[in-house]
Amino acid sequence: METITQGLTRKKFLKTVGLGLAALMYPTLGDSFPGITETGKDIRGEVFRNDAPAKLWKWSIEGSHYSSSGKDVQCNICPNRCYLRPGDRSVCRSRVNIKGKLYSLAYGNACAVHTDPIEKKPLFHFLPGTSIFSLAATGCNLRCLNCQNWGISQKKPEEVDHVELFPEEAVSQAIDGKIPSMAYTYAEPVTFYEYTRDTSRAARARGVMNVLVSNGYINETPLRELCRFLDAANINLKSFSDEIYRALNGGTLDPVLQTLKVIAAEGVWLEITTLVVPTYVDSTEMMKRMCRWIVKELGPDRPLHLLRFFPRYRLARLPATPVEVLEKLREEAMSEGINHVYIGNVPGHSSSHTYCPGCGKLLVERKGYRIGVFHIKDGLCGFCGRRIPGKWA
């Protein structure tokens, strides 16, 4: 019996196969095997070592809010505080260390540009019935398993197609379309911070209002700088549990709470969104704690949007949130003192309308994204004259 490779016994071969199989598993234990980390209930992202492009491209800009230590840099935009050696890429995939400087690769390269109804953000107390010019570049500093924009939020800038749209041109397009406001949205604007900031600044200078739609995972200093140009924000408070934040979103709770406080303190109109994910974010007790915190720290007039979950992305094996659960959570939220609690993603539901907390009358009727009856005048209830918080015109 001839063998092509003499001297290699079958036993040795099997050993080799075993080692090979073990080696085969090795590459899967990193980013591509979140199951390992999921069992540890933490899916936070990691810095991409030696993943930066060899050279910068047209849509790069030196980042702000970073510190240096020799050739290493630390990004201080968000709580991830990525420590990047030369050639590394941040958790959000958009920021890199090239030769000891931090650069954003997402500046002027918008991958999603649309004109949406402002109610779609959702913002219910800010210029209702108007359109909003919405743009996004790639990247996100979280890893939400239910992300509906994962095709841009979980990608590197080089991996997606984009249009060139530098700040001035973006504002010009909004003005040409007679659109009163701009939203930084879809992916996570914190990751394309400089693009958001500069476009907001340009928009403010030309009389266009700015809306931040964000996960709120940002540090205080850059946030305060950004707030100078913001008119409104919708912050996604994904749950009121650090454990769930780590397991479902790859983040932590405290920085988001801090963001809410800062935005409120800076006088930016603030609405809060919570996606009610079955078996994770549908606890009455957690909702009570969350609403107590909101009322205490932010006051009772911050609208809260409770959205119905539908299976998306990698949370595909959960059912939609029962409407009864949403209604119950809304009741709890209102009993804790929040004046305006909306139910979203349930077309035709009466809780998508605005009611006066004083007289209980219907003030703003919403038919999908369209506005029906409207009984607010000069920010006051058309029936009892109570001030209804928001920017109504």
Partner: protein
């Protein structure tokens, strides 16, 4: 399991032979149940299926090799192992269900590596034990007065496999839930092992064994076990159906009922958006709506929305009768009384019906398996066109990202645009919760609220949301990229599936490239190492499992349901091996084995060519029995090859384990490479060509100088 040897005696009633038959019955049922369980746990597509088969073969093979370490096994040890093998299936199926949430975050879908690891971990122990037992049986029999030669071992094992396959596929699957099926098919093995222990074991061991066996039957026959092991994933289960077509579950949380199919929520109460969009986008296009055909997706308010147009008839085709029955029972099928519910495969219905429709709606999941892809192919479009009136409209929907269309997504849409545009003059894609493809020879309209207004039909959802979702620039954007690439999607060259698989990998942040590269390196080093004759066995194992995958998936492409026929086709492949092996080890097989081997290799080649010709050139849809007959014939030829190859090699020079390893690892690789790589990435036609090349290489090896009896 392929084993060869010299003469055999046909004695059915000694312990060892009965062990083989009963083990075969139990293990085949366990394999089929495990496959179905994995398909339910991981929203099974071809990749999950292939990984399951690959792991099963690989680990069973390892179990067989491990048995070499036991030099003189006793009857007591064998009996104990048989008992373990009989009881393990219960723990395995329960473990798969219960451990999913322990291994992964509740409610998440999983990617390639997660599925692979889970499959290996969950099915590994049983595979190792069942593979381990076969050589032990042989060793024990050699110490008795009635030694089992290896060919006889193979024959009896095959008999068990075939009986188990037939029992499960034609009887148990229709009448019993998984745990009860396990109780039935494991029972002979349990009783046999207890008998063996009575002959050889100590009293304590016997007592423990009786206790274990009694517990096994109590637990597996407990009526609440199915729901108990599933409730962690589904919550409160109102109804659980293990239909021949898949697992259907209705769960309840608060006031909401959810209907699940294959582990994925199919519909939850009050999904108005989906019902409104899929009905009004299409029906509003028509001046007059008389006959409407809905293929799947009739749950919820859909039929009521259709009824707003006062059609003369609504035909709702749904494959699985248990799905529609359960939906009716729990009021998840509003307005069903106004529709004619037809429980049939949508494509087969279309090909057979003489009726003509004004509107045909496909409401199906993403085309990530052949079962679904076949509704998005050229062949399907031709059937739709045939069943549609001149100015009728056809619609289907795909998942998409509302804010950004990735390159893969654009390619997916382009493929579909090209495929539909070959049959319809106008194709319009409208955005909504999903992207709706509208196809017609008549003009199409993109202002749906305006059309509804003209018709006096009310839809609060469309009125409120349409203009916000389907803005002119979003509509323009969707329809711009649909006019590019001219690639087409067909039943056997499913270009669409390749793109969908790419998206699947992208969604889970993983790539199979590393896995396949390392596997290729390992396979290459193995191929360099093995004896030339063993390569023939390797290629035979590769071809037979590759062909089994192709037969399974081509059957799925033609008939649309694999879950039901999976057992029958697997059994057909097992069935063919038996007569093939009998002939192979008979005198006929021994006569000039090299020549016989070559002839059989040519026969395999011929059968593969027939398969390719059917796929490439024929528009025929063979009857199901033809698939089964082909499977039997193909496996018979391959079954013949094993003993013939062993004679050719010379058993004294080619140890049994070496032959087994070549055959099994060829089979494992054949299943994996064909199912998870060749078919999804190259399509079925090219996959057959790849198998043909493998077989040609085998022929070259045989005919090469030095390729004689001693390799």
């Amino acid at each position: 399991m392929n084993v060869t040897g010299g003469k055999s005696r046909w004695i059915f009633f000694d312990f060892e032979r009965l062990s083989l038959v009963f083990l075969g019955i139990s293990s085949v049922t366990t394999q089929l149940l495990t496959l179905r369980e994995f398909l339910s746990q991981f929203h099974g597509n071809e990749i999950t299926f292939s990984l399951s088969i690959f792991s099963w073969l690989l680990l069973s093979g390892l179990g067989t090799l491990l048995a070499k370490s036991i030099s003189r096994p006793s009857l007591s040890l064998l009996s104990l192992l048989l008992l373990v093998a009989a009881l393990m299936p219960l723990a395995q199926i329960a473990g798969i269900r219960l451990l999913r949430d322990a291994a992964f975050l509740h409610g998440t879908s999983q990617g390639f590596y997660q599925i692979l690891f889970f499959i290996i971990a969950a099915s590994g122990p049983y595979c190792l034990v069942s593979g381990f037992i076969l050589p032990i049986i042989q060793s024990v029999s050699r110490r008795m007065d009635n030694p089992l030669e290896s060919a006889a071992l193979y024959l009896f094992d095959s008999i068990g496999d075939i009986v188990g396959g037939i029992l499960f596929s034609f009887i148990l699957v229709y009448v019993l839930h998984p745990f009860k099926a396990i109780a039935v098919t494991s029972a002979p093995l349990v009783f046999l092992s207890l008998a063996g222990l009575r002959r050889s074991g100590s009293t304590v061991k016997l007592f423990l064994s009786y206790t274990l066996a009694a517990s096994f039957f109590l637990v597996s026959l407990w009526p609440g076990l199915e729901k108990k092991t599933l409730s962690g994933q589904y919550g409160e289960i109102l109804r659980y159906i293990e239909s021949p077509y898949g697992r259907v579950i209705i769960s309840e949380e608060a006031d909401q009922k959810t209907i699940w199919e294959a582990g994925v929520p199919l519909y939850s109460d009050r999904d108005l958006a989906g019902s409104a969009e899929k009905v009004h986008y299409i029906l509003s296009q028509l001046d007059k709506v008389e006959d409407v055909l809905l293929v799947s997706g009739g749950l919820g308010e859909t039929l009521n929305e259709v009824a707003k147009y006062n059609p003369r008839s609504i035909d709702y085709v749904e494959l699985d009768p248990s799905l529609t029955e359960a939906a009716k029972q729990y009021n998840l099928l509003s307005g069903w009384a106004r529709a004619r519910i037809i429980n049939a495969d949508g494509r087969l219905y279309l090909s057979g019906t003489e009726k003509r429709y004004d509107a045909i709606i496909f409401d199906l999941p993403e085309p990530d398996s052949f079962q679904v892809n076949r509704f998005y192919t050229e062949e399907a479009m031709a059937l739709v066109k045939k069943a549609m009136r001149d100015k009728g409209v056809f619609a289907f929907a795909l998942d998409y990202s509302q804010n950004y269309q990735s390159r893969a997504e654009r390619r997916k849409f382009s493929t579909l645009f090209s495929t539909t545009a070959g049959h319809f003059r106008n194709v319009l894609v409208l955005p909504g919760e999903r992207a709706y493809f509208l196809c017609s020879d008549a003009d199409l309209f993109d202002d749906i609220p305006e059309r509804l207004k003209e018709k006096g039909i009310a839809s609060e959802y469309i009125e409120g949301y349409f203009y916000g979702n389907a803005t002119p620039e979003r509509v323009r954007s969707l329809n711009q990229f649909s006019e590019r690439e001219p690639s087409l999607n067909s039943d056997f060259s499913p270009g669409l599936m390749k793109t969908v698989f790419e998206q699947w990998f992208s969604r889970h942040g993983s790539s199979p490239v590393v896995f396949f590269a390392i596997l290729a390196a390992l396979a290459l080093s193995y191929l360099i190492f093995i004896k030339k004759g063993e390569y023939v066995l390797f290629s035979t194992g590769f071809s037979i499992m590759g062909t089994e995958m192709l037969v399974l998936f081509s059957f799925q492409a033609v008939y649309g349901y694999l879950y039901l026929q999976m057992g029958a086709i697997v059994t057909a492949f097992l069935f063919g091996l038996l007569p093939g092996a009998i002939i192979g080890r008979s005198r006929m097989g021994r006569l000039n084995p090299g020549k016989r081997l070559l002839q059989s290799d040519f026969l395999v080649l011929l059968l593969l060519c027939v398969f390719w010709l059917w796929m490439a050139g024929s528009k025929l849809s063979p009857e199901p029995w033809i698939f089964l007959a082909y499977s039997v014939l193909f496996s018979a030829v391959c079954g013949f090859q094993f003993p013939a190859a062993a004679f050719f090699l010379g058993e004294e020079k080619s140890p049994l384990a070496g032959c087994l390893a070549a055959d099994l690892w060829g089979a494992a690789l054949g299943a994996l490479v064909t199912g998870a790589f060749l078919i999804p990435w190259m399509g079925m036609e090219r996959s057959v060509i790849a198998l043909i090349i493998v077989k040609i290489s085998s022929i070259i090896i045989i005919t090469r100088k030095g390729g004689s009896r001693h390799g």
